[in-house]
Amino acid sequence: MKVFEVFRQEKKGQPFAHAGSVVAPDAAFAEAWAREQYGRRGESEALWLVPRDAVHEVSEWADEFDLKYRRVDGYSIKARLAEARERAGTAAP
Protein backbone atom coordinates (compact mmCIF):
# COMPACT_ATOMS: atom_id res chain seq x y z
CA MET A 1 0.00 0.00 0.00
CA LYS A 2 1.21 3.48 -0.86
CA VAL A 3 0.27 6.92 0.37
CA PHE A 4 -1.08 9.21 -2.34
CA GLU A 5 -1.26 12.92 -1.58
CA VAL A 6 -4.46 14.58 -2.76
CA PHE A 7 -4.45 18.16 -4.03
CA ARG A 8 -7.79 19.68 -4.84
CA GLN A 9 -8.97 22.63 -6.84
CA GLU A 10 -12.19 24.04 -5.45
CA LYS A 11 -13.20 26.20 -8.41
CA LYS A 12 -11.82 26.71 -11.89
CA GLY A 13 -8.98 29.23 -11.86
CA GLN A 14 -8.07 28.58 -8.21
CA PRO A 15 -4.82 26.94 -7.14
CA PHE A 16 -4.62 23.26 -6.24
CA ALA A 17 -4.27 22.98 -2.46
CA HIS A 18 -3.21 19.98 -0.42
CA ALA A 19 -6.32 18.33 0.99
CA GLY A 20 -5.12 15.09 2.54
CA SER A 21 -4.03 11.63 1.51
CA VAL A 22 -5.36 8.15 0.74
CA VAL A 23 -3.65 4.80 1.16
CA ALA A 24 -4.01 2.62 -1.96
CA PRO A 25 -2.17 -0.17 -3.81
CA ASP A 26 -1.90 1.84 -7.05
CA ALA A 27 -2.97 4.99 -8.85
CA ALA A 28 -6.22 3.44 -10.14
CA PHE A 29 -7.48 2.57 -6.68
CA ALA A 30 -6.21 5.90 -5.37
CA GLU A 31 -8.36 7.61 -8.00
CA ALA A 32 -11.48 5.57 -7.24
CA TRP A 33 -11.10 6.31 -3.55
CA ALA A 34 -10.01 9.95 -3.72
CA ARG A 35 -12.97 10.72 -6.01
CA GLU A 36 -15.34 9.84 -3.21
CA GLN A 37 -13.35 11.13 -0.24
CA TYR A 38 -12.78 14.53 -1.89
CA GLY A 39 -15.55 14.88 -4.44
CA ARG A 40 -18.71 12.99 -3.55
CA ARG A 41 -20.57 16.24 -2.92
CA GLY A 42 -19.46 17.83 -6.15
CA GLU A 43 -17.21 20.05 -4.03
CA SER A 44 -14.09 19.78 -6.17
CA GLU A 45 -13.44 21.02 -9.66
CA ALA A 46 -10.39 18.75 -9.98
CA LEU A 47 -7.93 16.61 -8.02
CA TRP A 48 -4.22 15.87 -8.44
CA LEU A 49 -3.07 12.57 -6.99
CA VAL A 50 0.64 12.29 -6.32
CA PRO A 51 2.49 9.34 -4.78
CA ARG A 52 4.00 10.60 -1.54
CA ASP A 53 7.52 9.67 -2.58
CA ALA A 54 7.18 11.90 -5.64
CA VAL A 55 6.71 14.92 -3.39
CA HIS A 56 10.03 16.54 -2.66
CA GLU A 57 9.80 18.90 0.31
CA VAL A 58 11.98 21.97 0.52
CA SER A 59 11.96 23.70 3.89
CA GLU A 60 15.49 24.81 4.79
CA TRP A 61 16.74 28.24 3.74
CA ALA A 62 19.93 30.24 4.10
CA ASP A 63 19.02 33.43 5.94
CA GLU A 64 22.42 35.09 6.31
CA PHE A 65 22.35 38.35 4.40
CA ASP A 66 19.90 41.16 3.96
CA LEU A 67 17.59 40.35 1.06
CA LYS A 68 15.17 43.24 1.53
CA TYR A 69 16.34 44.91 -1.65
CA ARG A 70 14.20 42.24 -3.41
CA ARG A 71 11.04 43.15 -1.55
CA VAL A 72 8.66 46.03 -1.10
CA ASP A 73 9.56 46.33 2.59
CA GLY A 74 13.13 47.13 1.54
CA TYR A 75 12.08 50.52 0.23
CA SER A 76 11.05 53.64 2.08
CA ILE A 77 10.49 56.53 -0.30
CA LYS A 78 8.43 58.80 1.97
CA ALA A 79 11.21 61.20 3.00
CA ARG A 80 12.70 61.56 -0.49
CA LEU A 81 9.27 62.03 -2.07
CA ALA A 82 8.48 64.84 0.36
CA GLU A 83 11.79 66.57 -0.47
CA ALA A 84 11.22 66.22 -4.22
CA ARG A 85 7.77 67.75 -3.93
CA GLU A 86 9.21 70.63 -1.90
CA ARG A 87 11.76 71.27 -4.60
CA ALA A 88 9.14 71.18 -7.34
CA GLY A 89 6.82 73.41 -5.38
CA THR A 90 4.15 70.75 -5.57
CA ALA A 91 4.02 69.88 -1.87
CA ALA A 92 0.58 69.89 -0.26
CA PRO A 93 -0.14 73.14 1.65
Binding site: V22, A24, P25, A32, W33, R35, E36, Q37, R40
Partner: protein
Protein backbone atom coordinates in the same frame (compact mmCIF):
# COMPACT_ATOMS: atom_id res chain seq x y z
CA UNK B 1 -50.73 -2.56 -14.17
CA UNK B 2 -49.47 -1.75 -17.67
CA UNK B 3 -46.23 -3.08 -19.17
CA UNK B 4 -44.41 0.23 -18.75
CA UNK B 5 -45.13 0.44 -15.01
CA UNK B 6 -44.10 -3.20 -14.62
CA UNK B 7 -40.81 -2.58 -16.37
CA UNK B 8 -40.11 0.54 -14.31
CA UNK B 9 -40.81 -1.34 -11.09
CA UNK B 10 -38.52 -4.17 -12.16
CA UNK B 11 -35.65 -1.72 -12.70
CA UNK B 12 -36.47 0.33 -9.59
CA UNK B 13 -36.80 -2.70 -7.33
CA UNK B 14 -33.45 -4.09 -8.56
CA UNK B 15 -31.73 -0.77 -7.78
CA UNK B 16 -33.45 -0.36 -4.41
CA UNK B 17 -32.65 -3.84 -3.18
CA UNK B 18 -29.07 -3.94 -4.47
CA UNK B 19 -28.56 -0.45 -2.99
CA UNK B 20 -30.01 -1.66 0.31
CA UNK B 21 -27.68 -4.67 0.29
CA UNK B 22 -24.66 -2.54 -0.63
CA UNK B 23 -25.49 -0.07 2.16
CA UNK B 24 -25.07 -2.94 4.65
CA UNK B 25 -21.32 -2.59 4.10
CA UNK B 26 -21.22 0.98 5.41
CA UNK B 27 -18.66 0.93 8.20
CA UNK B 28 -17.33 -2.59 7.71
CA UNK B 29 -15.67 -2.72 4.27
CA UNK B 30 -12.06 -4.01 4.03
CA UNK B 31 -10.48 -0.55 4.19
CA UNK B 32 -11.79 2.87 5.18
CA UNK B 33 -11.10 4.29 1.74
CA UNK B 34 -13.08 1.47 0.09
CA UNK B 35 -15.85 1.89 2.67
CA UNK B 36 -16.41 5.50 1.61
CA UNK B 37 -16.36 4.64 -2.10
CA UNK B 38 -18.66 1.64 -1.69
CA UNK B 39 -21.19 3.69 0.25
CA UNK B 40 -21.35 6.21 -2.61
CA UNK B 41 -22.25 3.39 -4.96
CA UNK B 42 -25.05 2.26 -2.64
CA UNK B 43 -26.39 5.81 -2.43
CA UNK B 44 -26.27 6.22 -6.20
CA UNK B 45 -28.34 3.08 -6.61
CA UNK B 46 -30.96 4.29 -4.16
CA UNK B 47 -30.96 7.54 -6.13
CA UNK B 48 -31.56 5.64 -9.38
CA UNK B 49 -34.32 3.65 -7.69
CA UNK B 50 -35.94 6.88 -6.55
CA UNK B 51 -35.91 8.37 -10.06
CA UNK B 52 -37.41 5.18 -11.50
CA UNK B 53 -40.05 4.97 -8.77
CA UNK B 54 -40.99 8.56 -9.53
CA UNK B 55 -41.69 7.66 -13.16
CA UNK B 56 -43.71 4.65 -12.08
CA UNK B 57 -45.52 6.67 -9.41
CA UNK B 58 -46.71 9.17 -12.05
CA UNK B 59 -48.03 6.21 -14.07
CA UNK B 60 -49.75 4.62 -11.07
CA UNK B 61 -51.03 7.69 -9.20
CA UNK B 62 -48.96 7.23 -6.07
CA UNK B 63 -45.55 8.36 -4.75
CA UNK B 64 -42.03 6.94 -4.80
CA UNK B 65 -41.86 6.10 -1.09
CA UNK B 66 -45.16 4.22 -1.22
CA UNK B 67 -43.86 2.11 -4.10
CA UNK B 68 -40.49 1.56 -2.41
CA UNK B 69 -41.83 0.58 0.99
CA UNK B 70 -45.58 -0.05 1.12
CA UNK B 71 -45.96 -3.05 -1.17
CA UNK B 72 -46.00 -6.60 0.16
CA UNK B 73 -42.81 -8.64 -0.42
CA UNK B 74 -44.33 -10.75 -3.19
CA UNK B 75 -45.29 -7.61 -5.12
CA UNK B 76 -41.67 -6.62 -5.65
CA UNK B 77 -40.25 -7.38 -9.10
CA UNK B 78 -36.57 -7.58 -8.28
CA UNK B 79 -34.29 -10.32 -9.57
CA UNK B 80 -33.04 -12.95 -7.09
CA UNK B 81 -29.43 -11.78 -7.56
CA UNK B 82 -30.01 -8.58 -5.60
CA UNK B 83 -31.88 -10.30 -2.77
CA UNK B 84 -29.07 -12.60 -1.68
CA UNK B 85 -27.55 -11.75 1.68
CA UNK B 86 -23.81 -11.79 0.96
CA UNK B 87 -21.87 -10.46 3.94
CA UNK B 88 -18.52 -11.65 2.71
CA UNK B 89 -16.30 -9.58 0.43
CA UNK B 90 -15.58 -12.02 -2.42
CA UNK B 91 -19.29 -12.64 -2.95
CA UNK B 92 -20.19 -8.99 -2.53
CA UNK B 93 -17.68 -7.90 -5.14
CA UNK B 94 -18.68 -10.77 -7.44
CA UNK B 95 -22.27 -9.54 -7.26
CA UNK B 96 -21.18 -5.93 -7.78
CA UNK B 97 -19.24 -6.91 -10.85
CA UNK B 98 -21.93 -9.14 -12.35
CA UNK B 99 -24.72 -6.69 -11.56
CA UNK B 100 -22.84 -3.85 -13.23
CA UNK B 101 -22.27 -5.95 -16.35
CA UNK B 102 -25.93 -6.95 -16.48
CA UNK B 103 -27.06 -3.39 -15.82
CA UNK B 104 -24.77 -2.07 -18.54
CA UNK B 105 -26.31 -4.41 -21.12
CA UNK B 106 -29.87 -3.46 -20.23
CA UNK B 107 -29.15 0.26 -19.95
CA UNK B 108 -27.62 0.19 -23.44
CA UNK B 109 -30.91 -1.23 -24.70
CA UNK B 110 -32.99 1.27 -22.72
CA UNK B 111 -31.01 4.26 -24.03
CA UNK B 112 -32.36 3.54 -27.49
CA UNK B 113 -35.92 2.92 -26.28
CA UNK B 114 -38.85 4.66 -28.01
CA UNK B 115 -39.92 5.74 -24.54
CA UNK B 116 -38.18 9.15 -24.47
CA UNK B 117 -38.58 9.65 -20.73
CA UNK B 118 -37.12 6.25 -19.89
CA UNK B 119 -34.37 6.61 -22.51
CA UNK B 120 -33.41 9.98 -20.98
CA UNK B 121 -33.27 8.57 -17.47
CA UNK B 122 -31.28 5.57 -18.70
CA UNK B 123 -28.70 7.93 -20.23
CA UNK B 124 -28.45 9.85 -16.95
CA UNK B 125 -28.03 6.66 -14.94
CA UNK B 126 -25.44 5.47 -17.44
CA UNK B 127 -23.29 8.56 -16.92
CA UNK B 128 -23.12 7.83 -13.16
CA UNK B 129 -22.64 4.10 -13.75
CA UNK B 130 -19.35 4.83 -15.52
CA UNK B 131 -17.79 5.16 -12.07
CA UNK B 132 -19.48 2.03 -10.71
CA UNK B 133 -18.00 0.12 -13.60
CA UNK B 134 -14.55 1.56 -13.03
CA UNK B 135 -14.77 0.43 -9.43
CA UNK B 136 -16.10 -3.06 -10.25
CA UNK B 137 -13.48 -3.57 -12.94
CA UNK B 138 -10.66 -2.51 -10.62
CA UNK B 139 -11.72 -5.12 -8.10
CA UNK B 140 -12.45 -7.84 -10.68
CA UNK B 141 -8.93 -7.36 -12.08
CA UNK B 142 -7.33 -7.43 -8.62
CA UNK B 143 -9.27 -10.55 -7.62
CA UNK B 144 -9.01 -12.23 -11.00
CA UNK B 145 -6.84 -15.12 -9.80
CA UNK B 146 -8.29 -15.29 -6.30
CA UNK B 147 -10.08 -18.64 -5.98
CA UNK B 148 -12.84 -17.38 -3.71
CA UNK B 149 -13.72 -14.66 -6.18
CA UNK B 150 -13.79 -17.02 -9.15
CA UNK B 151 -15.95 -19.44 -7.16
CA UNK B 152 -18.33 -16.62 -6.19
CA UNK B 153 -18.67 -15.47 -9.80
CA UNK B 154 -19.46 -19.04 -10.94
CA UNK B 155 -22.02 -19.41 -8.15
CA UNK B 156 -23.75 -16.09 -8.90
CA UNK B 157 -23.63 -16.35 -12.70
CA UNK B 158 -27.07 -18.00 -13.13
CA UNK B 159 -28.51 -15.23 -10.93
CA UNK B 160 -26.80 -12.55 -13.02
CA UNK B 161 -28.38 -13.93 -16.18
CA UNK B 162 -31.77 -13.59 -14.53
CA UNK B 163 -31.31 -9.81 -14.23
CA UNK B 164 -31.58 -9.25 -17.99
CA UNK B 165 -34.34 -10.31 -20.38
CA UNK B 166 -33.60 -13.52 -22.33
CA UNK B 167 -32.70 -11.69 -25.55
CA UNK B 168 -29.82 -9.87 -23.82
CA UNK B 169 -28.18 -12.93 -22.22
CA UNK B 170 -25.88 -13.79 -25.13
CA UNK B 171 -24.49 -10.25 -24.98
CA UNK B 172 -24.00 -10.44 -21.22
CA UNK B 173 -22.26 -13.82 -21.52
CA UNK B 174 -19.95 -12.43 -24.19
CA UNK B 175 -18.97 -9.50 -21.95
CA UNK B 176 -18.34 -11.61 -18.86
CA UNK B 177 -16.60 -14.40 -20.75
CA UNK B 178 -18.81 -17.20 -19.47
CA UNK B 179 -21.31 -19.48 -21.22
CA UNK B 180 -25.06 -18.91 -21.06
CA UNK B 181 -26.54 -21.36 -18.55
CA UNK B 182 -29.98 -21.81 -17.05
CA UNK B 183 -30.87 -18.50 -15.42
CA UNK B 184 -32.31 -17.93 -11.97
CA UNK B 185 -35.36 -16.12 -13.32
CA UNK B 186 -37.23 -13.19 -11.94
CA UNK B 187 -40.63 -14.07 -10.50
CA UNK B 188 -39.80 -16.31 -7.60
CA UNK B 189 -38.35 -14.57 -4.58
CA UNK B 190 -35.71 -15.92 -2.23
CA UNK B 191 -36.58 -16.22 1.49
CA UNK B 192 -33.99 -13.47 2.02
CA UNK B 193 -36.31 -10.89 0.47
CA UNK B 194 -39.00 -11.27 3.14
CA UNK B 195 -36.35 -10.92 5.88
CA UNK B 196 -34.93 -7.84 4.18
CA UNK B 197 -38.41 -6.37 3.74
CA UNK B 198 -39.20 -6.81 7.44
CA UNK B 199 -36.12 -4.88 8.42
CA UNK B 200 -36.48 -2.30 5.66
CA UNK B 201 -40.09 -1.43 6.54
CA UNK B 202 -39.95 -1.81 10.34
CA UNK B 203 -39.95 1.90 11.20
CA UNK B 204 -42.36 2.84 8.43
CA UNK B 205 -44.88 0.20 9.52
CA UNK B 206 -44.59 1.27 13.17
CA UNK B 207 -46.63 4.42 12.50
CA UNK B 208 -48.53 3.79 9.24
CA UNK B 209 -49.17 6.87 7.10
CA UNK B 210 -46.86 9.08 9.15
CA UNK B 211 -44.46 11.65 7.73
CA UNK B 212 -40.85 11.00 8.62
Amino acid sequence: MNARAQQLLELADDELIVGWRDSEWTGIAPTLEEDVAFSSIAQNEIGHARALYELAAAELGTDADALAFDRAPDEYRCAPLVELHLMEWAHTIARRYLYEEADRVRIEALKSSDDAELAGLAAKIDREEVYHRMHAELWAARLHDEPRFRAAVEELWPYALGVVPAELREELARRVGLDVVEAKERGEHTPELAELWNEMTEVRRSVPGAEW
